[in-house]
């Protein structure tokens, strides 16, 4: 497992703490083994080792496609379709179709984190949070065309609470 996570650090660019914290690492290892078989998976690990752990330097198309698939899995929770040639070369007896590994796999997808987002439909950040600049974005004045300044949601809320108390 730790070995798989170490390899995944190189594939995804996320550190092992982040990857473990998703809670789906074991499921992904299992999925990868199930999809490509132990033999091809071991070969992939060996070739990656020989490439100094850098997936960008993998030359064999099968190992490269396994690297793509595992990365895709981490980013989206979806095992992708393999290249047709790789599917044939592996002699797979499964349908070569993409599938979401589990509902949690979708919500743990790493892609949302690349832009400081959250998975659509889960981990809701709270009322009005979409009004704030995301990290790295400049603030923008919030004024309507009529020149009427519009309160931030927090202020609206406060007004409302005051109304409730009185």
């Amino acid at each position: 497992m730790d070995g798989f996570v170490d390899v995944s650090v190189g594939l995804t660019g996320f550190d092992s703490f982040d990857l473990h914290a998703t809670g789906v690492a074991a499921l992904y290892l299992e999925t990868a083994l199930d999809q490509v078989g132990t033999e091809a998976f071991e070969r992939f690990l060996d070739e990656l080792d020989a490439a100094g752990g850098d997936p960008g330097r993998l030359e064999g198309e099968t190992s490269r496609d396994i690297a793509r698939a595992i990365t895709h899995l981490w980013y989206l929770g979806v095992w992708p379709q393999l290249a047709r040639s790789v599917h044939t070369a592996l002699g797979r007896e499964k349908a070569n179709v993409p599938f979401t590994v589990s509902p949690e796999a979708y919500t743990e997808g790493l892609v949302w984190r690349t832009f400081h987002g959250h998975p659509a439909g889960a981990k809701a950040p709270g009322f009005g949070t979409w009004s704030d600049p995301p990290p790295g974005a400049p603030p923008v004045p919030r004024v309507t065309a009529a020149g009427r300044p519009v309160g931030k949601p927090e202020e609206d809320r406060e007004e409302e609470f005051q109304g409730d108390i009185s």
Partner: protein
């Protein structure tokens, strides 16, 4: 197989599935428990009428476990399209946007529930399950503009309504209460020119604008743009959109009585605020977005809902009066076996969605005098444009759209081209390019066609950095165009095409007029100007291909459009029985006790998302139905149970009458 369909779901409001429907008469039968049917049943039940609601789909979504199952189905779905959370139902099939595929050299192929034979695809779906299509709507609830009701008189195209904004205004307010609308009436009035009564506020304060809205507003507010060299300038302005979505209640509402948001169906006190899940279409995890199940939870006990009951025909007598409906009950949506039943009532209300209503009228051979049933099918054809902003804008946060540009909805340009609303889209390239999944695949070198050679792909830090920098700057604009009523765009039936229960599938013939296409060309020109003002990198491309079933060429330019889900016009209303299907009460001209409610009644759709107007119409029709029933039920004297008081029965109300309960043999 069972003689009576069993009730599924927890009784929240109303009665569920009992007693056996075919042994009893009702005051009203409502066909379909979507938005319009749910509202009609609510109003009439509250007024004491016994209402039978027959719903073709299952009722699993009105329990919390059923809702969670839909959430998980959505999470696991490969393509997160509007119908992805909802289980397929062979007894009451729904169309799906995935049923359409573009062909490599243009044109399209349709599979699935609809049979399509038009020049262009009708690209919208709906949902046949308890709650209806609104389960996966976005929840935007702008009113129509007064000039939208008289497009023929004013601009010389399409069809006019037999009523106007002023006739509907109080019903708009009633609908805004029923749906729980968050908005800024003052802004709607200033920016769009919508008339409201003095001092009117929506039930809830407007949904906060997205950061993207503010970025766009800062660059475009007050700037005039020309849509072509010879046209006058139109001043741009970002305006927040009214939503049927829980925000902060406005203490000023209802003369200072305020408003209490409606929580989730099956888990009250939950979902009383929108918390930014950013999945309103196809499913709101907390149900902060309005859906009809919330209203059903407040139905009077006189409303009986029977799910898994597919109405196959409206029954009428020789004098043209509807006497009831025939329907098919089934247990298993995966392998349906059905039994056929009839139910009778004084009034029948079709509320099965524009396309299904037309289908039912056609199958039953009713309302045919004008020859308009099924014709004038309309939608809001949507043109998408998309690009990258210079800095992060926070895509995939909050509701799909919180503001729009309303400047092109009205005015004399309508004489030439279709008007449009511009929605600023908060969910990046989710709709135009299936982001962020497609971005990951592309950077990894994964091609759509597994037979094609794959790119080397980027991994690790570089992948993470490039995705973050790219996706974070995505934004898109959605141009929703008005489509006018045209007789050639239509729903028909053909005995050769049937579903599993033997009911005809809708056969759809659809195209866009040149006026709509000119509207799209103008929309694209405006988009180009807006992208320029935003200093955004335009990534819009239209071409034929599998993901562009709506591709066409117009005046030497490529376009691709999508459906908005706003099917309308198939049983339109008018002021003459010779040229329209229903009158201004949505009552069939040919059958005084048969109503067809929904967007199908709309003779023109303007540029507003249509459901608020549809809801206002349904509430208005409920008043007329109530009067019809009251007229049918003469007051009678009844002995009240448990005492010797004799009271005149309340009219309106569940007055036993020879007309409505022959089996009880009440003789006044």
């Amino acid at each position: 197989m069972s003689a009576s369909p069993r009730a599924d779901g927890q009784p929240a409001g109303g009665g569920r599935g009992t007693p056996p429907h075919h042994r009893r008469r009702y005051d009203v039968i409502v066909v379909g428990a979507g938005l319009s049917g749910t509202l009609v049943a609510k109003r009439l039940g509250d007024q004491g009428w016994r209402v039978l609601v027959l719903e073709a789909g299952t009722g699993t979504l009105d329990t919390w476990p059923g809702h969670l199952d839909a959430m998980n189905t959505y999470y696991a779905a490969a393509a997160k399209v509007p119908n992805s959370p909802y289980r397929p139902n062979a007894a009451a099939p729904s169309p799906d946007v995935l049923d359409l595929a573009g062909l490599p050299d243009g044109g399209f192929r349709a599979s699935g529930y609809f049979v399509q034979n038009g020049a262009l695809p009708y690209g919208s779906d709906y949902l046949r399950a308890n709650g209806g299509t609104v389960m996966h709507w976005l929840g935007l609830t702008p009113r129509m503009h007064p000039e939208d009701f008289a497009v023929r008189r004013t601009f010389g195209y399409g069809r006019d309504w037999p009523l106007g904004y002023a006739d509907l205004e109080s019903h708009y307010r009633a609908a805004e209460r029923q749906l729980g609308v968050a908005g800024d009436a003052q802004e709607q009035s200033e920016a769009i020119g919508l008339p409201f009564p003095e001092g009117y506020v929506y039930p809830m304060h407007r949904i906060p604008r997205s950061y993207l809205d503010d970025v766009v507003a800062a660059k475009i507010d007050g700037v005039p743009v020309q849509e072509s060299a010879d046209s006058p300038g139109t001043t741009l302005r970002v305006v927040t959109t009214p939503h049927a979505r829980n925000s902060v209640p406005d203490a000023r509402y209802d003369g200072g009585r305020g408003y209490r948001p409606a929580g989730a169906a099956g888990l009250p006190n939950y979902g009383e605020r929108c918390v930014g899940n950013a999945s309103c279409v196809p499913i709101c995890p907390v149900q902060a977005k309005y859906n009809p199940l919330k209203t059903q939870a407040t139905w009077d006990s006189r409303v009986t809902l029977v799910t898994r009951a597919v109405v196959s025909r409206v029954l009428a007598d020789g004098n043209g009066r509807a006497i009831g409906v025939e329907y098919q009950a089934y247990d298993d949506p995966a392998a349906p076996v059905h039994t056929t039943h009839t139910a009778e009532a004084d009034i029948v209300v079709l509320a099965a969605h524009a396309i299904e209503n037309a289908k039912l009228l056609l199958v039953s051979g009713l309302a045919g005098h004008s020859g308009q049933v099924g014709r004038n099918l309309m939608d809001h054809p949507v043109l998408l444009t998309w690009g990258l902003m210079k800095h992060p804008v926070g895509p995939f946060r909050g509701p799909a759209s919180t503001s729009g540009v309303e400047s092109f909805r009205t005015g004399p340009a309508r004489k030439r081209r279709a008007p449009f609303r511009i929605e600023i889209a908060n969910w990046g390239w989710g709709w135009p390019a299936a982001s962020p999944g497609s971005d990951v695949a592309r950077l990894l070198g994964i091609t759509g066609d597994s037979g094609q050679p794959r790119g080397r792909g980027v991994f690790g830090e570089e992948l993470r950095r490039r995705l973050g920098g790219g996706i974070g700057r995505q934004f898109s604009l959605q141009f929703e165009l008005e489509q006018e009523a045209e007789g050639r765009n239509r729903v028909t039936i053909d005995p050769r095409h049937r579903d599993r229960l033997g009911n005809p599938r809708p056969v759809i013939t659809y195209d866009l007029s040149d006026r709509v296409k000119r509207g799209m060309a103008a929309a694209k020109a405006v988009s180009d100007r807006v992208f320029g003002l935003l200093e955004a990198e335009d990534r819009t491309v239209y071409g034929p291909g599998p993901f562009s079933p709506g591709h066409f060429r117009f005046e030497g330019q490529d376009f691709a459009f999508n459906g908005a889900g706003h099917g309308a016009g198939t049983h339109l209303m008018g002021d003459s029985r010779d040229s329209s299907v229903v009158d201004h009460w949505q009552r069939c001209w040919d059958h005084p006790n048969l109503y067809a409610v929904g967007c199908g009644s709309m003779p023109s759709v303007g540029t507003s998302n249509p459901s608020l107007t549809m809801a206002a119409l349904a509430l208005r029709s409920s008043e007329r139905i109530h009067r019809d029933l009251t007229e049918l039920h003469r007051p009678v004297t009844v002995r009240t149970g448990g005492g010797d008081r004799t009271a005149a029965s309340r009219v309106p109300g569940p007055a036993p009458s020879p007309h409505s309960h022959p089996q009880q043999e009440v003789r006044p």
